[in-house]
Structure formats: C-alpha cells, structure tokens
C-alpha cells in the first residue's frame, strides 16, 4: 500500500540515524525563523506597528519633553536628545520581550505549539527558532531607530567600532529578555493577558537611566534605577557610542559595560531554564 510506504520512509528520515540530531535541530529552527520572517514579508505593517511606538516615543520625549530636560552633565535640549537616544534603543530592546510573549501565547492558544509538539521535529527548535527570529527582528528595529536618530542629528562620536560594540550590548539584552518573553508567553493564559504586560514593562523601563540620571531621583528610587539591568545597558551603550554617560560615580554606573554583560547573562541563566522547563511542563 502506497500510503504506508510514504509514512515509513518519511518517518525513518526523521530519526536520528538519517541525519544527525544537531542537523535537524538547526534545520527546524531555521524553518521556524523563516515562518516568522514570512509574516513580516507578507505584512510589513506588522513591523511598522512594532516600531511605531519607539519612533513616536523618540519624537515625543525628544521634542515635547526634551525641551524642558537637560542632560545630567548640563547642556542644551539638543544635548539631552543625545543622552536620550541610546536610552530609546534600550527601551526598544526591553519592550521586545512583550512581542515575544505575545507571539508565544498566540501560538499556544491557537494550538500551533501543540501541532509542533505532535510532529517528529526537533523539540528545541520551537524555542531556539523564536530566539533567533527575535534577534533578526531586533536588528531591523535597531537599524530603523538608528536612521531616525541620525535624522534627528544624533551622532555616535566613537566611530564604527564603538557603535558596533554598543549594538552588541543592546542585542545581548534583547537576547536575554527573549527567554523572559518565552517564559511569560507560556505562563499567561491568553493573548489579552499578554497585553497587560505593558503595565509592568513601562514603569520598569522608566525607573532606570533610560530617560533621566538615577542621581536626580529620590535616594532609594535612584538606587533601584541605578541597579536596573536596563541602566547598565544604557550606560554601556552611551559610553560605547561616545555620548554623555551621566554617571554619579556609583560603583554600578562606573562598571556599566561590565554589568551590561553580567546582567543579560544572569537573566539568561535564570529564564532560559525556566522557559525550557515551562515548555516541557506542557506535557504534564
């Protein structure tokens, strides 16, 4: 019977003996990446939605509030915009985890993840594919924000190498937060609940050095803001771009580039296993 023959030949191709497990783990991850990139290709408006918020924020904070703001080291409104823009890059990376969570909860509630799990594909591909896709999308977001920033007159004073390093720490933060997003996406019951994450994400982003120097905040709040992982990335990005850092001389701000690596690694060390465990728990 021909149907049986197709089934057995196809299933033997998927066993580890045909091609290695690693090969299929990579091939399947890439298929998952292609799936999401196809979403954007079919509907470029999706990325416009995702980017609309940071671009509008850049313009609002830069020009509406920016006129009344002065950078930590003193200077004009234009200097504040130079201080602000690396912060906006950080904010965009930090909000990315909500897109991850939304996409995961959507797949979960629609049964797409169940379908993946009932197939002989590499189980890890669902999670690694997500992580890879988020990094690719983050690169696109950063390029568009960069163009906006350049149009506003912002410059990376340090040259190409510094700027590349700055983008490196930004992507590292996004990578770490992807696992928070996957974990939350598997945790929250429905897409509506994922929308509620914004209520948490927004203050967490504000209480940092993204918009203002922690030294200008009341004592305890300033300490929290200084130790916020986003402040570390913001501080590192500012120093790598050659922009004003606005440090108050505290240990954590002096060591921003170090902390911009330590924090994301710590977040990954906690949330990657949590996300994987949550994924495996789907079969409980």
């Amino acid at each position: 019977m021909s149907t049986t023959a197709t089934a057995s030949s196809a299933s033997s191709a998927s066993t580890p003996t045909g091609r290695g497990r690693l090969y299929w783990a990579l091939a399947d991850s890439w298929t998952v990446v292609r799936r999401v990139l196809t979403h954007y290709r079919r509907k470029p408006v999706l990325i416009a939605w995702q980017l609309g918020f940071p671009i509008v924020s850049v313009l609002l904070y830069g020009y509406v509030l920016g006129g009344a703001m002065r950078p930590p080291g003193g200077g004009e409104a234009a200097d504040y915009r130079n201080y602000l823009l690396p912060g906006m890059f950080v904010m965009t990376m930090s909000f990315g985890f909500m897109h991850t969570a939304t996409a995961v909860v959507h797949d979960q509630s629609k049964g797409v993840i169940d379908r993946f799990r009932s197939m002989p594909m590499a189980p890890s591909a669902v999670v690694t594919g997500r992580g890879l896709t988020d990094l690719i999308v983050a690169c696109a977001e950063l390029s568009i924000l960069l163009a906006t920033a350049l149009a506003m007159g912002w410059r990376a004073e340090s040259g190409v190498a510094g700027a590349a390093g700055a983008f490196g720490v930004l992507l590292l933060l996004r990578f770490a937060l992807t696992w928070v997003g996957v974990w939350l996406g598997l945790l929250v019951p429905n897409p509506e609940a994922a929308g509620g994450l914004f209520v948490v994400a927004f203050p967490l982003t504000m209480v940092s050095s993204v918009f203002a120097a922690p030294s200008t905040m009341p004592g305890w709040l300033g300490t929290v803001a200084a130790w916020n992982p986003l402040s570390a990335t913001a501080g590192a990005a500012r120093s790598l771009f050659g922009n004003e850092i606005g440090s108050d001389g505290s240990w954590v701000q002096e060591h921003a580039p170090l902390m911009a690596v330590v924090w994301p690694l710590a977040i990954t060390a906690v949330f990657l296993p949590l996300a994987i465990r949550r994924y495996q728990r789907l079969s409980r």
């Binding site: 049986t4 191709a13 629609k110 009932s118 197939m119 409980r284």
Partner: protein, 316 residues
C-alpha cells in the same frame, strides 16, 4: 488476534486529586473511524493528547500503530496526524506556506514539501485559495487546511479532536466528507465528539467515555437501539390536555408514552418516524387539542448518557 491501530489498556492520567483518565480501555481497528463520545470533561481530549504524545500519562499502556507511546514518543510522532479543537494553522501565512512549513518540519526537504503541499491543496479542494492568507479562509476551509497539514506524512493514525466544533452545518458536511475520503484511502481515524449524530455519521464503532473510563463500546446501531431510537414529543397549550395527548401518542407509537408534567410534555419512542408524526398530528387535530409544539427528536448524547449511567451528562 487483531493488529490494533490504537490500543490503550487501563490508561490513567491524574491532575492532583482529579482523575482525568481513570483506567481507560480502547481498541481501534485499522482502517476504520472510531468515535470517542462523551460530554465535556469526560476525558476524550485528554485521551487523544496522551495518545498523540502531547501529555505524559501516569498508568496503563498505550500503543499507536504498534509503537509504545511512553517508550518511543518520537517514533509515534512520525506515524500520526493530529487535528485539535482549534484549527492549528498559521493565520498569517497562506495555505500553501502553511503546508510547506509543516512539510519541512516533517523533514520532507524543500522540494518534497512543496510538491506535497500542491497535492494536499488539490485533495482538500483548496487550490484556488492556496495563495491567500489563511485569515481570509472560512471556518470550513481552515479546518480542511488543518486536516491537510495532519496528512502530510500520510499518517497511519489520524486523531481528530472535536473537528467540527464551532462549524456551521455546511462546513461540518465538508469536514465529514474529507474524513470519509481519508478513511477510504486507508487512514485510521480516532474521532472525539460530543455529538451522537456525528459519531453515527462517521464511525463504525463508538466508545462512550465518562469520568475517564469507557462505559460502552459498540456499533452506533447497537448504541442507538439501547437508547431506544427516535422519539416523538408533543407539547399541548393547556396542561389539562396532557392525558388526551398521552392517549393519542399511546395509540400511534411503540412504547408507553412518558408524561412530563413539569415541562408540559408527552414523549414516546417511534419506529416509522414520519408516518407516526403525521398520524399524531392528524389525531390531535381531530380531537381539537391545541398544540404548542410537536416534533421528532433523535437520541442525543444526553439520552445515551441517561441510559448508560442513569444520570444527566454533566458538563464539567
């Protein structure tokens, strides 16, 4: 000795104190549609999720196409297709892109995935809509695409978990036709449903599930006979007419009519549906009994349940 397509013995699945599966036995013959019938919360979906390797189970044994589900889940995944309660397809891709993606994830390779997608689109009558986004598909088309995705590997066993829930009658008919075509081509189907008529339409054997166990396993005919087949129901305008109605129904119908005072209703089993109905209507008209409602009712899952368990089908 049969080679079963699906075989479960004493399957158990616990969630804390709750027993979702409490010793379920199931045996499905190859090349047939087997119905798992039961109310919400009876354990049907849990059973399918266990057999499709999505859920681990706590006790008992399960084999699909002769492969042990607990020991070799990955091999089982290469032999099955699953269509769950939602159409698990990607809304933001076209029908073709969906099938090509799933084909790649089934490890067909790019070229085979593309040609398999073309075949399946044709077979499920989706060729015209192939390059449209799935978000523009009707409920029935979406479900057919979902079925097509489950058929990429020509699975030995296809699990259909309430495949027509939420579909209009026309789309339901389309899905039923697709299922019949699949079985004609040699696939074994395990179908869960809450509707007796759906199981009756498609399945050659039905297992009735209640509280995580099989409480009956029989052909649709035998099950319906146990329940007593179709019934006629008459609701007079005046409760005072109930005895007169019961008299008419008793003369025309097979068994003793039951009078439900609270619902102001008389009902009785019938054999020749249509002639019984017209005779009852004529007799009531002659006696000038004003009737609010009269009709035929096919036995529902509720009737099967009442008969098998002595209680109403509880929705958990």
């Amino acid at each position: 000795m049969h080679d079963w397509a699906v075989r479960a013995e004493g399957l158990e699945k616990r969630y804390g104190e709750k027993r979702a599966l409490d010793g379920l036995d199931l045996a499905v013959r190859p090349g047939t549609v087997h119905g798992l019938l039961g109310p919400n919360g009876a354990g049907k979906s849990t059973a399918v999720r266990v057999l499709a390797t999505l859920l681990r189970f706590d006790g008992g044994r399960a084999e699909v196409a002769g492969v042990d589900v607990a020991r070799e889940p990955r091999r089982v995944r290469g032999l099955i297709g699953l269509t769950g309660q939602y159409a698990a397809v990607d809304d933001q891709l076209t029908g073709r892109q969906n099938l090509e993606m799933f084909g790649r994830l089934f490890h067909l390779g790019g070229r085979s995935a593309r040609s398999r997608a073309v075949e399946l689109l044709e077979r499920f009558r989706l060729t015209e809509a192939a390059d449209r986004g799935v978000e523009s598909y009707s409920g029935g088309m979406r479900r057919r695409l979902d079925l097509a995705a489950s058929m990429i590997l020509s699975p030995r066993v296809l699990f259909l978990d309430e495949p027509t829930t939420g579909l209009d009658p026309r789309a339901r008919g389309e899905v039923w036709q697709s299922v019949r075509d699949l079985v004609a081509a040699g696939t074994t189907v395990l179908l869960t449903t809450q509707y007796l008529d759906e199981a009756d339409q498609l399945a050659s054997r039905i297992t009735v599930v209640d509280r995580g166990r099989a409480i009956a396993d029989d052909t649709p005919e035998a099950l319906k006979n146990r329940v007593g087949g179709d019934r006629i129901e008459v609701v007079p305008v005046e409760a005072a007419d109930l005895p007169a109605v019961a008299g008419v129904v008793a003369r025309v119908c097979l068994g003793e009519p039951r009078v439900d005072e609270a619902a102001r209703r008389v009902h009785a089993p019938v054999r020749d549906r249509v002639s019984a109905l017209s005779e009852v209507v004529r007799a009531l008209h002659d006696k000038r009994v004003a009737v609010e409602d009269v009709g035929l009712r096919r036995p529902s899952l509720d009737d099967v349940f009442l008969r098998l368990t002595g209680r109403e089908a509880v929705t958990v």
